[in-house]
Symmetry: C3
Subunit: 318 residues, 3 copies
């Protein structure tokens, strides 16, 4: 028998064996997301006629190592939206990824995940901003797909009284032939008078035999700043993909000038099919001054310490 | 490929922008349920032969503004039942809506939801009764559908030691041509010697160009009483539905005689399809004495204060 | 319309009315699992070619009496795994049943569930071992299906710092004609220097008109031991199945020699279809010394007391 339903059920399970050593402490563990976040989702799309469509999307984050949901405690942590789309673009309401997330994923060979992710060096500068990835109560407008390569979106999320939740941001980009370039910026309200400000931009060029990408991510909160520069590289190799990246994080202001860090990462994804891959990643990070970044946790970060990690896993999408 | 399953996956996502002003305090927010409760469900029905059917139903309540589940913390907050049905009717076990809920929804143009809902003036009189909508551990019997318009159900739910959870109730109604009339009553055990008692009744007449409905809901707990009278009206208008209601709540006993309240509501549902609608609702409520009802929360209710609200949203069912 | 998905949605809802009397205290309640655990699951299987398959499995435990999830608080309490399988067998990662669980279910007419389950006399001897059924972070290898009746699996689960979670175990069995025989053993790390050790074995013979089974389960923790012997019997009768079992639990060591217990159980499953059954079970247990086992809870166990129970329910699978 077949399901009597107009909804699509989809998901990803990704589990890896991971070893992280930070400040001389090593933790070996089963980890949830070396390549892609584990998830289960339900989405609906209805054609309303005249080019208009309605859509709904619910997506939970799964920790398959222990069977729990995301530590946020929100069942639909990844996305819970309803939307109307048409020739004008898409109007979308609910909890969702925010505009400043996308460049951090698209222009990083490791896509914010695993021991090699550039996201390991991303910070909210202690501002309490909870919007590095997603926003609650968001109203988003997304440009239509047929603008000759131009794409973009804008999002406003009232904080509804929760410090670190009030978000306004936008992203605009251009994708044409081998080139992709995008710019995004956002303000997030905090518990203090200062907003947390983020601006990031990326460029990638796909030469076929290899793809190069450059990502800049700049954060500012009061007198504190951190500018990250990342150089990324991917290349098809055999039935898989070689991935490599180098990133520098440069802190400044409020006595943080010495707290810089660097990360280098190398990995390979072996594709068993379009939906299933084996992967392995290695990374090495150095912290200076009071910087205490880490390639994964546990163990906790340690000021000025080296952090390194290696993981091997399997990802299956359905 | 197609799902290898005999289960139906269904749901509703409903998000609105809502502004509520109570006692001079205004809160603007994204809200979850201006028209219908957001939900995700899974149901199965099996034909056992001889007219007998088995069924299962799991339904979670979704807050798509923030991605959380219902504040009760129960994943299957809306319904978790298994049932056997046939010519004799249906025997149903589990957590479910209770008989005294239905009149409050069926004979209200706003169906217990949003700033215009008559349910905004419903109370358990401080009894701790947790059964205004649903009951845990319920054994329900529902009359078969082919009784010439007669319908009804009875439900017994042992409290299993939780004050406010022991429920016994029944509903009987008659639907014929343009007329629908129903009566329901229930007792709920509390932490005191007094049961919380509810009786409600509704009548509706559908003249085609408009539908009129009258709803009475009477609550009693010890010496306290509250009687609510609501007049409702709906009319097809363009591709949508005009909705209006007026309700009075009359409290009495135990020094509450002055704590009366009134609500008036007006709204319009614009149907984009059978499954997708845009809607807008406005309502205005006055409290007298120590009555502190509100058209929505936050903000909190304020004794004797005016509460008013407006919301506009989108509902998509799948 | 049909689901656009390659995932199978499946589940079971099982609700019963149950009465348990222990130490003279009787509790009547609606219960969740007289025959099979209530659940909702999502599974995917992809053919990778060359005999290789990838799979994913998410399965939540449902308490349909109140709409909650399992008391562990883990949404995917029952299983969350990703696996690769082929001619070599199956490699599986994630939270899953462990090898020492299977004999307790397969060689018990009541399959670890309900007032008649042999599992009612199973203990971790106060060791804190949380692995009687499942393990987090597990790496499992399962033998292929075509070994002429030989089957087996091995599982290693690092505790990741949680006492009672570090598990290593294996099971091997042989299924041929009417005979099935299997042996399993495991070690679980605890908060003390002693591991909790479990060994169990079962034999069953299916004569067609009846099936006989014998199960041994031996637990050891430091100086404490408990050996359980169970004799089980099932027989097709009418459109259903008669089930009966007798079990003895023999404690020894560390002053527990007198703490023995016995249970006898009798039940009948009436099959309405392959997917839907009605069932009834009766059981009676005696405790000696300080033994405080029980056929169900609530009420709590009482040292040296008799515990007896009866339940009648419905199970529907989809």
């Amino acid at each position: 028998a077949q399901a009597q339903s107009q909804v699509t059920v989809f998901g990803i399970l990704d589990l890896s064996l991971k070893s992280v050593t930070t400040g001389g402490v090593t933790v070996n563990q089963m980890a949830n997301e070396g390549m892609l976040n584990s998830r289960l989702g339900f989405k609906s799309e209805e054609d309303l006629g005249g080019g208009l469509k309605a859509g709904a999307w619910l997506e939970t984050a799964v920790n398959p190592d222990t069977g729990t949901i995301n530590a946020s405690g929100k069942l639909w942590h990844r996305r819970s939206t309803v939307s109307l789309s048409g020739g004008f673009g898409e109007l979308r309401l609910g909890r969702d990824l925010d505009p400043t997330f996308y460049n951090l994923s698209v222009f990083d060979p490791f896509g914010t995940l695993g021991v090699g992710a550039g996201f390991n060096l991303t910070t909210n500068l202690g501002s309490g901003a909870a919007t590095l990835l997603r926003a609650d109560n968001a109203v988003s407008y997304i440009l239509p797909a047929d603008l000759g390569g131009l794409y973009g979106q804008i999002q406003l999320a009232p904080g509804e009284g929760v410090p670190g939740n009030r978000y306004g941001g936008a992203r605009v980009g251009y994708l044409k032939g081998p080139w992709n370039v995008a710019l995004a910026f956002a303000n997030t309200g905090t518990a203090t008078a200062d907003d947390f400000k983020l601006v990031n931009a990326g460029v990638s060029y796909d030469a076929g035999f290899a793809k190069l990408m450059v990502l800049f991510n700049g954060a500012r909160y009061g007198a504190k700043r951190q500018n990250n520069w990342e150089l990324g590289f991917t290349a098809p190799m055999g039935v898989g993909l070689l991935r490599a990246s180098y990133q520098r994080a440069d802190a400044s202001g409020a006595g943080t000038d010495a707290n810089d860090a660097e990360q280098i990462a190398l990995g390979y994804v072996y594709s068993l099919s379009k939906r299933t891959s084996l992967y392995g990643t290695w990374s090495h990070m150095t912290n200076k001054g009071a910087a205490s970044f880490k390639v994964g946790s546990p163990p906790n970060g340690v000021a000025g310490a080296t952090s390194r990690g290696v993981e091997a896993g399997i990802m299956h999408a359905f």
